[in-house]
Structure formats: C-alpha cells, structure tokens
Assembly symmetry: C2
Homo-oligomer: 738 residues x 2
C-alpha cells in the first residue's frame, strides 16, 4: 500500500518530494520509463540502494524448464522469463572520493518528477557527504519514443559551498546480481547470469558490450557514449571487460561549477539530453517471428508475470491505443500476426484446427504451466480477432484488414468451429473452456467466450466476402464461410429463467454461492487461501466476465438485462484481479450507477499509485492503467464501436465536472467534451461522420460542433458487493480530461 | 505384450519352461513374491541379468519435492516414492571360479514355477560353465505369510558329470544401482542412494545391516542367517560393510553331492525352507500413523505409481478380501484408519470439514500433483466408508464397526455435507468433483460420487444410531445425523430424459461424442496423445464410472435402466485403464451379455500375464487381478450385498461349464456352485442365513444344500465398443472355480 501523501497531486506529473526507502520497490515501478522496446525501472542513478534493478529489452528472455509433478500430453515444457539486460543507467558519483549514497551523509532534499507530457524523469537531490561536502545532483532520463533503441541520461553535479573533487563513473553492467524471487532453485539457477559475453570494447568516452543469452540464444548489444560539459579541466577515461564498461570523468569543481557527463550519441543543444546510451538489438533467427514488440502485462516496468504478454493487451490496452495511437495498436497486432506460425503449431499439437494462440508468452510459444487457467482460456483467440477488427473498423486501415487482420480473423475463427459442436436442437455449444474469470474454469458455454467466438466467426465470414482473393489464398471456401455464419447464428447464450439473469456459463447460477460472510479480510485474494477446486465450483468471481461480455457485445443484451445482470454479479465479484474494476466501471456507468462507476474508475487508475494489489514492485498493471481510459471513455463517455459505427452515451457522476477526450476515427479526430448537462462533439477535418448520441443519430461535419443534451440516468438502488470488497468510495472532487 | 506360449497352462501354477531374457522385466513382476509387508521381484538369484531389481518393504519410502510450473494453494509440495530396500535375495554361484550367468556358457534348461497354493517360487536350471562344467541349480523362495518380516531361500547346487569347486555367496546389498526411470533429474537425484548406513555386523554365517532413509527418516534393518547342508567339507565365512553383507560357502563337490546354503532363522526340517533371510523393521516416530500395511496399486511387485495406494484398494481389492480373507481386509481398513489424522489435516488445509483422504499416498499424506484428477476425486472418502461398511456387514465384526469403522464413516460423511449444497428446489448437489472416469474431471453431480456419498451419509447416520456412545464421543448430535439423512435423501441423480439414460455427471450426455472414427489404434491410450482439456469436454470414458455405480448401488437402477445405460456407455468406453474390464464384466453379466462378460473377465485376469497395458514391468495391476474375482463372483455369480443381505444371481456364459466359490459371511462359509442349469448353495456351520437367489429368498441352514434353477438370461443385442477397443473375444473353453 502506498499512502496518499507519497506523491503530490499535479496535472500530468507524478511528483515525489522526498525519498522513502521503504517504498523504493514501488517507486522504481511507478517512475519507470519505457517506450515499448527499452524499459528502465527507476533505480537510483548510483545503483544502490535498490529494491529490484530492472533494464529490459522487449522480447529478450531466457528459457527455463517448466516442471510438473505429474506430466500430461500437451503441457509446455519450456518457459520464458524476461531477463535483466545490461544495465545502462548506472551513474556513480564520488565527492572527495566518498560515494554518493542516500543512506550515508545527509540527504537535505530529494525529489523525482515524471512528466507525462515529455516522458522525462527528473531527479534532484542535495546531499552532504559524510565528510561534510554538500553537492547538488540532478539527473534527467528518457527513453526515446522516436529512436526506440535509445535511452539517455543527463547527469549534473555541482558543489554547493566549497570546492570539491568530483568523479562521475558511468557504467554498463551485465548479469547484475538480483534478489532471488523464485523459490524453485532450478528456476533461479536457470536465470542466474543469463548472458554470456561475446564482445566488448571501449574507446574515448564510449564503451560497448555484446552478449548472448545462454539458452534462448538471443544477442543483445549495449553501447554508451558521453558528452562531458565542465568549466574545469576534466580527466576522462574508459575501459570495458566481459560484463562491464566504465567511463569515468573527474574534476575539481568550485561551487557553481557543474560536471555534466551526458550519456549520448550526438548532442542537440546544451541541455537536450540527447543520444544513445543503450542500444540493444535482439537477433536470433527463428526465435522472434515478428519484429514488432508485444505489450507485456507489466509493460517493461518489472519482471512480474515473467514478462509475458496475455490477452490483456488486446482487450484492455489496444482499445485505448486504437483510438489514440493507432500506429501503436497496429504494431501490437502485427506482433501477434508474427507469432501466427507458432499458434498454428500449437493448435496442431493440441489436435485442434488452425491456430491456438498462447495464454502467456514472450515469443509466441505457449508458456502456461497450468492449463485449466491457461491453454483452456481459448477466448484469447477471439480477443485477438476482435482487436484486429476494432482496429480495422476504427482506422479504416485496408492494408491491415486484408493482410494481417484478415489472416488473424480467419485463422482464429477456424478454431471455434472445431472447438464447438451442435446439439440435437441445433444449438452450437463451446464446452470445457475457461472464460476471463479465473475463479471459474473448464466451463460449458461461457457467455463471454461464446459471444467473442460469434464475433470472430462473423468477422471471418465478412473478411472472406470482402477480400475474396485473400480468402482464396487462405483456402476459405463459400462452404467454410457458411459454417462460420451458421455456428455464429446458433451460438448458445445461457440464461437463467428463474433468476432472470444470464449465467456466466452453463449452470453457473445453480452453483453454491461462496460463503462471503465466513471469509475474512485476510483471506483475500482468495486464490492464496483456498484451493482452485473450491473456487471453481462456487459462485464467486475473480474478475469481470459476463460484465466484459456486456461491454464488448453491448447489443446482445437489453438495458434491463444489463441492469439485472450487473446487480446479480456485483455481489459475487471480489476483484482479486486488476482486470476487473475498469469493466465494472463501464457497466456501472451504463446501468446508471454513476457513483459506483466513479469508485471503480479510482481503483483502476490508482492501482499502482496506491499499490492496491500489493505487487506494484514487480511492475505496473498496464491493463488496469489503460483501463482508466476505458472507464472514462467507454464508461462515462459510453463509447461503443459496432460494425464501424461509433456510439456515445456520455453521462457524468457528481464527482466529475467535465470529461473531454479525443478519438481518432478513420484518420479524423473526434473531440468529445462532456458536462453534466450536455455533450459537445467536434470533428476536426475529413469526411462527415455519423455517430449515435444516446441512441440518436448525429451527423458530424468537420469543424462544426454539435451539442446534445444528456438524458437523466435511470434510478436504481446501488448494487452491493461481497462484504469488505466494496471499492473505496471516492469523494466528489476533480475533473477528468485531456 | 507377452505371447500366450510364454507360460504353460496349469491349475494353480504359473509355469515358465524356458528363460526369455526379453521378457525379464515382465517375468520379474509376474513371478514376484509379496506378503503385504515384504515384496521381492523375481530377479534371478545371481542378480544379473536383471531388468529392475526390486526389494520392497511396505511403507518405506523416500520423499521428494513435487514441482509445479505454476503453484497454487493446497498443492502438495512433497511426494513419496517407494524405494528399494536392502536386497536380500542375491545368491551368487561360482563354478570353478566362473560366475553362474545365464548369458555365458550353456543354459541347458531353465524353468520357474510359482505355486499359488503354497506361495513358493521354484527355479531350476541346468547350466554348463564356459569351461565346460555342468551343474544343476535350484532355488526355492518364499516370503512368509505368518511371519511377515521374514523371507527365505533354499539354494541348491550340484555338479552333474564331474567334480567341481563350488562357491556360493549370499549377499545383502543396499543402495543397489537401478536403471533410471524418471526423466526429471531432481527426482532421480532425490532417489539415488536413498539409504544411509547406521549399523552393520557379521558373525558366523549371519550378517546384519541397518539403514535410515535420508529425508523421510525411516529405519530399515536387514539380517540374514544360513544353514549349510553339504556332504563335503565346507569353508564358510562372513563379512559386512556399510552397504553390504556377504556370507560365502565353498566346497569341492562330486557329482550327486549338493551344497545347500539356506538363508534361514531356525530350521524346521530338512528341506523346509524355513527361516529369516531378511528381517526389516520400519521405525520412524510419527511417520507411519498406522502399523498396518496399505495395499498399493502394484502391491509390492514393482515401483509403478511410486508405490502409492489409491482408491483401488478399497474398491477392487477389499471386496475379495472381505469375503475370502476378512482379516486382511480389516488390516487394510485399519491402515486407512491410522491415516485419519492426516486426512483431518488435509481437510483443514483445503478449507473443508473433517476428513479428506488422499488420492494417492504411501503414508497417508496427499501426494497427488495434478488436482483435477487427484484431490478433486473426493469419492475416495466414500470408497473408504463403503469398504468399511461392507466389511462390517459381511463379517459382523462389531468391534470394528463401533471402533475404526464408525470413525471412518462418520469422519468421511461430514465432508459430503460440506462439499454439497441444496438448490432452490431442495435437491442436493455435489459440484466440481471428479468421478472414477479419468477422462472427465471437475464435473457436477457425478452419479458414482453422489451414490457413494449417499451410502456414506446413511451409513454414518446408522452408525450414530447404533452406537450412540461412540457418536457422542465423535460429537455427532441428532441434528447432525438428520442433516446426513436429509442430504442422502435429496441427492441428485442426473438422468437424460431425451436419451433415456443416466448422465454420468450433469450434462455429460449433451457433450460432443469423441471422434472415434478418426482416432487411430496408435492413439490409444488417449491421454498420451490428446490434451486433457479435449478429453474432459467430450463423451469418452477411460474407465467404468456409471457402470461402477450400477454395480455398487444396484438397487438405485432398474433392470431396464441398467441395460440401456450399459449399451449407451459401452460405445464410449475405451478402457485406457486397468480399472474397467472387471466392472464391465459385472454389468455385462447382469444385463445378459454373458459372452461379453466372459471377454472382459479374460482381460481383467490376463492383464499381466499378457502384459495388456504394456507396463507389467513396473509391477502387477493388483486391482485388475482382484477384479478377476469381482468379474466371476459379482459378475457371473451376481453377488451383491445390501444392508447386510447377500443376493446372488448366478448365470454362466457358454465359455464356462462351472463356477464355484466360497464366501465367508459372518464367520460362516457359504459355498456357491453354479452350472448352466442350477446353483447349489451350501452353508457350512453357524446360524441360518437368508439370501436371495435371483430375487427369491432362500433360507440356508448349516450343512443343507439348496439347489435352485437358473432363469434364462434376457436376450439383447450385444453392445458395441469404440472401434478397435473391443475386448479380445475369448473362445468357449474351460471352467472357473476354487
């Protein structure tokens, strides 16, 4: 838990005004910098103290054996673990030969500021060495968003009162010793010193190291170059060895004089912290099918979940990227597309048709060691297809739609026909699979899975119709297309007539309800205190499942069904997952529970700033953070996209005075500004766009704002949650927008 | 596969007339000797060649870590593996200093004979040494059925043509090197040299070794003593060291003279192979709660299934023991009772009420590393309770019934009330558990489980009523007893009205039927070629499940239901388990498919003699072998026991001319002799006994045979099995009886 006063509240900044060593692991995560390729945890420049050093390069992993107490056919035998690549952010400072260490001497001040506008992390400290020499230190870090392999640091040090001998040592360090997180000695051994040296060099103020992962055979290079600014004479030298490179700059400085060894490649102005501190190129034939980066569950901010990417990316992160940074969404989808050959292999291994995408992976191979909550969660196939369709619909990117997008929807659709079957009444069932909720598994006719499969099947049939030449190349016949439409048409959606609610999966609502009254606060998260068999057989929900189905397939449910389902499932949902609050916010907002939606919005947004899941040390919850956008835009904005048509149903809670966001749709920008009374829609350029506002068509033309009143929300009693699992109630202040 | 000509067909003997080294692993199993405490595989006396040396002591195991790719609450972390204790059956022979080895010189003859009447294994060989010296060698082995810690060997050697210098070396050998069976190096390492020496000694012709298992801390002692018979002067000596003991006897013998070093303790006649060759006492405070031996799945004939005991013992082995060797049944049940404290601990760990017996174990702790097919198979609780009730009903053992039996039924019954729940209509459901069929898992309302639980609950209520003082001690109130009867009364039994058959579990008959047509012969057993998720979600059955329910709860189904269910489930059952054929034989016989029952009888009986499962090398399939009795007595004899009343419905197939068996019931012997036309019942002593013959009451008095005619079997078309999975059709010859 991080208390509220750890950070000051500022727009677009994360600002820490004093250093709390007890929070170091968490602040290393929340101040981390990453650009999709390179990730740097916010370890202190001087390396020590640290909680968890972290320098990551997307897609660079080491393999390890996946052990099983009892083996079975089809279980993956090899796991993948994100590894620390060469640490290129170490900058050690010596003041009169005493090392700068916040734990010694006197730390007069310390602040860190992450500017979300510029993406730059600034640190400022004033420190008095044990011998009494005060210095001012500042560093500015960035990882480049245009040159993804480049990161840079501008490091300044200046004596305060009196002359001092200053030395700054800039390091590259490979196979840095890490605190062991894994109790299994074999895993720890497999990941100890994962990199073996292949080349090193140092000249002038530059150094370079090239390594290779021992088992996965990936090459990683790291190089650093420096520009040194100093009014006094500077002695600089460099050297390198197997696992390290050093560039040292030393000078005697008077107060006011600064030593600035900037790690850089090419300077672009006096303080423009430009240049290439770390350049790393993963190369390994056949190991990374796609050249695009995945979006791991933790981004590149920590080693949590072994650095794996899950369905989270397509379902929680890509919606935001699709409407705000479409190129990044395309890139993530192209990564998936690049792993298609491995998904084909996996399906063949499982005896299934066509493609089975992995539940968790770095390079595209299934790494899930617990199949009931991994491989059986076949919805990942449809999550990918739906994300591809969403991207194509929102952007109109024809090249993608007929290329990788078409590949993805066709190959994924084929799985469903094979997984499902018709009963005697002609209903199509998908049995024995696991939906989003990880407190259920191996269920029949999970509604989320079935609706996603339905969309997947129809999208494949549509794609085949729209791109007949591509369909022909993929071997799609009219007959096959027809089987897709038939299965979609006949898809089973379990409904409990007695209770008047949908069943998350067949029979779910008949099961015993978890004994919440006898579950103590200390017994959450439940999976750490109860066996899976007990969770699976009862009505208790870890994360939004049917609610996610209602969000993503809004038209498959009536407003009344949504309200009843929400009320029923709220009292079963314990949110032991970070993939829940944002979806609950969306459905709460849609069903008129705006205050509750606001509370869930807060939980999604603050998950890491408040360390609500007690594991922010392992990295940020990227899906929940992207879910903040979902809670705002799909929740309070009521945004839905169906068959290429945008609908909005904005409605604010009392806690929000205003909500504004911009969506990129078909290359045009749609600005939406919402107050309690009205919504204002502005299209900037491009063809006119027809949207729906609370169900009513509005035709927008470029530059002409349209203002529409907001109807009152239906009044319904606030649903209850399991005792003790209510979201924190948030006071009514502030606004949200960008 | 073992071909039919490997053994000659003789009553009560297993007889091998020549040595086939390719079959060594299998014959080591089928000629193994075991008495419930000591087990000796039929390794050749001289140690080499061997396939798998095996010397076991029931309950002596080593622990090893159970690894998981993804850990979860409640998964057992420590496994148990049966280990080879000190090998006490090595007897090396030297003829003019050349070692006897069947692979060198000339093996003129070699035969082995296991006499099931006396329990003695005899081996006879005539061998010519490479130097041309012919000798006759014979050995006779036994493991004592009265002194369970004792085994003995009488070894004779005699020159045939000419004088020879004969030396016989009798050995104790600890930590014998074994062929590594486990691919996991950690497991192999944990089990290498598991015993550390604590004491050794040798005097005269005796030697003793004491060891301790390194991690599980069990003490094992082995001692040998010898009587040496020889007409010529013998030089004998002994010595011992850390992991070995040696007694050597040497003499120069003329033809006709024999050297007989008998391992023994005390002689009881010239050739009575008496005496204590190996005495082993497991001692380890707290490690073995019960002093009684378990019945592992492989008996003590090999290391298969890690030497674990499963529900097999109670369900397939105890029925035979209960009616033929009641003391052995009581002993096995007392072993379970001794593990009750560990079952209480396990239930507490799982958050359940009272006792949860383990799926697989040596000492009573759960060792199942795959919970969907292990811990979730809670029916083991009821299997134990039902076995206890069966024993008490059949024997009238009041002391057991009010003591350990009562404990077992009460503690197991409490689990069901906790596992199950009532729906709104007042039906009691047990959700998310796994029944006997291992190609289904985590199912709702598995009929076998529900009926077993029902019996368990009623038995507990009856026990509480019958022994109110014991009930009071166990904290059973009238209210609690009432909840047991209520749950039993309201138990759900899924029935598919459309198909007119019972559903093995809720929804089972709605699932997709396995595509048998597209499954090749090489793809069986299915679990080695298909992932569990695919098996679990389809109609395909590994082993009898509903059929076992119909056998054990005969009165819960009408004759017509049984016939329809049998026909429906036969075409789904692939028998990839050895725990199936005997049950299918029982229901086939009951539903009039007598020829089919005969085929299944053959499969159950010959499973190891023909190596039908291709793993006889790892030990015998004890449950299937005991299942031979079940197929005969419960199948062709139609024996059922319900509420203490024996019913029989004998009916023979054309392949059998006569069936005769004796049951011990309440201390009396009931002899049943069946021909095609009639059944003859004879009670030897004791009170009169009322039984049912094909549903008609017959009152038997001691010594007065009753003869009853056998009604004709109903005529029904022979059910079909999955293509290629039909049992081998057996020709119509022979009879069965004892």
């Amino acid at each position: 838990m991080i208390l509220q006063d750890a950070f000051t509240v500022e727009p677009w900044n994360l600002h820490e005004t004093h250093l709390d060593l007890d929070l170091l692991a968490k602040t290393e995560s929340v101040f981390a910098l990453a650009n999709g390729q390179v990730g740097w945890r916010a370890n202190l420049d001087e390396g020590e103290p640290h909680a968890l050093p972290g320098s990551y390069l997307n897609g660079v992993y080491e393999t390890r054996p996946l052990p099983y107490a009892e083996s079975a056919y089809g279980l993956p035998e090899t796991g993948q673990e994100i590894i620390n690549i060469t640490n290129g952010k170490l900058t050690r400072l010596f003041v009169d030969d005493e090392p700068f260490d916040v734990r010694s001497g006197e730390l007069r001040s310390h602040e860190r500021l992450l500017d979300f506008g510029s993406g730059v992390l600034t640190r400022r400290a004033e420190w008095v060495s044990p011998a009494g020499r005060p210095v001012r230190v500042s560093s500015v870090r960035l990882v480049s968003f245009t040159q993804r392999a480049v990161a840079a640091i501008c490091y300044e040090v200046e004596p305060v009162d009196s002359q001092a001998r200053i030395a700054v040592q800039s390091e590259l360090l490979t196979n840095e010793q890490l605190p062991s997180a894994d109790a299994d000695p074999r895993v720890a051994a497999a990941l100890e010193d994962p990199l073996s040296g292949e080349y090193y060099d140092a000249t002038g103020t530059a150094a370079v190291l090239v390594h290779r992962t021992k088992r996965s055979g990936l090459h990683v290079g790291a190089a650093m170059e420096h520009l040194i600014d100093c009014p006094a004479p500077v002695r600089a030298e460099s050297r390198s060895f197997g696992d390290g490179g050093l560039v040292t700059a030393a000078a005697v400085l008077a107060p006011g004089q600064k030593l600035e060894p900037r790690r850089c490649r090419g300077g672009r102005g006096p303080r423009g912290a430009a240049g290439g501190a770390v350049r790393a190129v993963p190369r390994a034939a056949g190991q990374r099918p796609g050249g695009e980066p995945a979006i791991p569950a933790k981004g590149l901010t920590g080693p949590g979940y072994s650095g794996h990417a899950f369905w989270d990316a397509e379902t929680f992160v890509l919606p935001m990227l699709t409407f705000t940074t479409p190129a990044a969404a395309a890139s993530a989808l192209r990564w998936r597309h690049g792993t298609l050959p491995l998904a084909l292999d996996r399906a063949a291994q499982l005896g299934l048709a066509d493609a089975a995408f992995p539940w968790r992976t770095i390079n595209g191979q299934e790494c899930s060691g617990y199949w009931p909550a991994g491989t059986a969660a076949f919805h990942v196939n449809a999550d990918i297809a739906v994300a591809a369709v969403r991207y194509a619909d929102a952007t109109g990117d024809e090249e993608f739609a007929r290329g990788p997008g078409g590949d993805l929807v066709v190959h994924t659709a084929r799985l469903w026909v094979f997984l499902g079957h018709y009963d005697d009444q002609g209903n199509f069932h998908i049995d024995g699979v696991t939906g989003p909720d990880e407190y259920s598994a191996i269920a029949d006719d999970n509604i989320y899975t079935n609706l996603m499969a339905q969309t997947n099947l129809l999208a494949a049939a549509d794609a085949a119709k729209r791109y007949p030449d591509r369909a022909c190349e993929l071997g799609v016949s009219d007959e096959e297309s027809a089987t897709w439409r038939d299965a979609a048409q006949a898809m089973t959606i379990p409904y409990d007539e007695t209770l008047g609610v949908h069943a998350q999966a067949a029979g779910f609502t008949r099961r015993q309800i978890w004994d919440f009254a006898r579950t103590s606060a200390g017994q959450y998260p439940l999976m750490l205190h109860f066996p899976y068999f007990d969770l699976y057989r009862k009505q208790v929900i870890k994360q939004a499942d049917l609610m996610l189905a209602m969000h993503m397939h809004s038209s498959a449910f009536t407003a009344e069904q949504k309200a009843r389902n929400f009320a029923y499932y709220e009292r079963l949902t314990v949110r032991d997952s970070s993939l829940s609050a944002c979806t609950q916010a969306v459905i709460a907002a849609e069903t008129g529970h705006l205050d509750l939606a606001y509370d869930y919005l807060g939980e999604a947004a603050l998950i890491d700033l408040r360390d609500l899941q007690h594991n922010t040390r392992d990295g940020l919850h990227i899906a929940s953070l992207a879910g903040t956008w979902i809670a705002l835009v799909n929740g309070f904005g009521g945004l839905r996209l169906k068959d290429g048509t945008v609908s909005a149903a904005p409605r604010l809670t009392d806690g929000l005075t205003r909500l504004a966001f911009t969506l990129i749709i078909g290359g045009r920008r749609l600005r939406v500004e919402v107050t309690h009374a009205q919504a204002r829609y502005i299209l900037t350029g491009g063809d006119p766009l027809e949207i729906l506002h609370h169900g009513q068509p509005v035709t927008l033309s470029a530059g002409k704002p349209h203002v529409r009143p907001i109807p009152a929300a239906p009044s319904r009693p606030r649903p209850s949650q399991p005792p003790g699992r209510e979201p924190v109630h948030r006071p009514h202040t502030g606004n949200a927008g960008h």
